[in-house]
């Protein structure tokens, strides 16, 4: 009989503790980071979720009042689903392109009369990205205007930590270039440093790590990314 003496292997214990909700603060943040960066650990977490899942069956159903759904629905209007931010922005751009083209056609029609079409210049592009990771509910919606180099980051679902969220652009070379730290919640606006602007292309990703609070961007991240997303140019 050895069953009493052997504790769980470290990763097994950490995964099970994360699943049960036993971890707090830094321990929890660390476990979530490992879950994101290590597929083997993520699978161990899934296995523990599956093991204890039947306990949910013991929880009785209780019908919530109807106003709960109304509250949820109103927050969907103001917010955005993971896929709809890009869709909405694309629609908006499309509208801008179409109305721009339409205006150009009308202007041309006034000058040369009907029957002739000239190519119209494309409106300037906007870069957008949606960052997510393994932290439930954490979503960052990013838009970037290359004309002004202004970046707007909308954060939702950031858990409490002692660290601060820092955003990085990562090009195909794999180098993390910091764009600075952002607020934990709501909208942050910042100007992208001039030497990093060229990296904001559809070949790059934006990534979020949790770093010691700092007024100035860090040279490189200390932790694994907790959220990431591909840049889309629209």
């Amino acid at each position: 009989m050895v069953e009493e003496t052997e504790p769980l292997k470290d990763d097994e214990a950490l995964a099970a503790e994360l699943v049960l909700g036993l971890l707090d603060g830094d321990e929890k943040a660390r476990a979530l980071r490992v879950q994101l960066s290590d597929p083997k650990f993520a699978q161990t977490v899934d296995e523990w979720n599956a093991r204890i899942d039947p306990l949910f069956q013991e929880i009785k159903e209780v019908e919530p009042v109807a106003s709960v759904w109304d509250g949820i629905e109103s927050r969907l209007d103001g917010g955005s689903s993971s896929s709809s931010v890009v869709v909405q922005l694309k629609r908006w751009r499309m509208g801008a392109i179409v109305s721009g083209a339409l205006a150009a056609c009308l202007a041309l029609a006034l000058i040369v009369g009907p029957g002739t079409l000239a190519p119209t210049s494309e409106p300037r592009s906007v870069a957008v990205a949606q960052l997510t990771g393994n932290i439930e509910g954490l979503v960052l919606a990013v838009s970037y205007n290359p004309e002004t180099a202004e970046m707007r980051v909308d954060v939702d679902g950031m858990p409490e930590t002692d660290t601060a969220p820092e955003i990085w652009v990562v090009d195909q070379d794999g180098v993390f270039r910091s764009l600075g730290q952002i607020g934990r919640d709501g909208v942050s606006e910042m100007t992208v440093p001039s030497d990093h602007r060229e990296f904001i292309t559809s070949a790059a990703t934006l990534q979020l790590t949790m770093e010691p609070p700092s007024e100035t961007p860090h040279a490189k991240p200390t932790g694994e990314p907790v959220a990431m997303g591909k840049i889309t140019i629209i």
Partner: protein
Amino acid sequence: MSQSSETDRARAQLSALIGQAADGDRQAFQDIYNLTSAKLFGVCLRILNDRQASEDALQDAYVKVWRSAGRFDAKRASPITWLATIARNTAIDRKRSGGNRVMVSDDAIKDMAADEQSALERLEKKEGADILNKCLDSLEARQRNVIRTAFFEGHSYNELAQKLGTPLGTVKSWVRRGLKRLKDCMDDG
């Protein structure tokens, strides 16, 4: 139709609805809510034991579901587990951020419980519950108790140690040994 193929079909349907919600389909999202909100509200109430706090947590949970529907992977988790886990974690976050004002009383929970089996409950697989319960029963009582209390009340190690008046190291040791035995027992089938 057998129980298990009916279960599989209902799961596939719920997974499909989550997929549609990920594409921005509000009707699919509302269908998910109608099918699952009573279960998820039960989960929030179990953790928070406070109707108002649970309603707030439930709203947060479904907003998260809407926003992260694209990350649901039917190969990795059953849709109900995925949803219930989001609700449980959301309720735990709310409980911890609001301090420890709300303590769970088992009597209050029993009063809220309804006994009929709902459509959703019929959908859950009973075989898994049999194995888990058999294995939980094989643990020492104190190991079983800390694991069940952690799950149902959403306590951290520190909160458990406080609640039980037992040193943190001892509680950790009970939990880890219990989890080890649980895993061995369940892996043996």
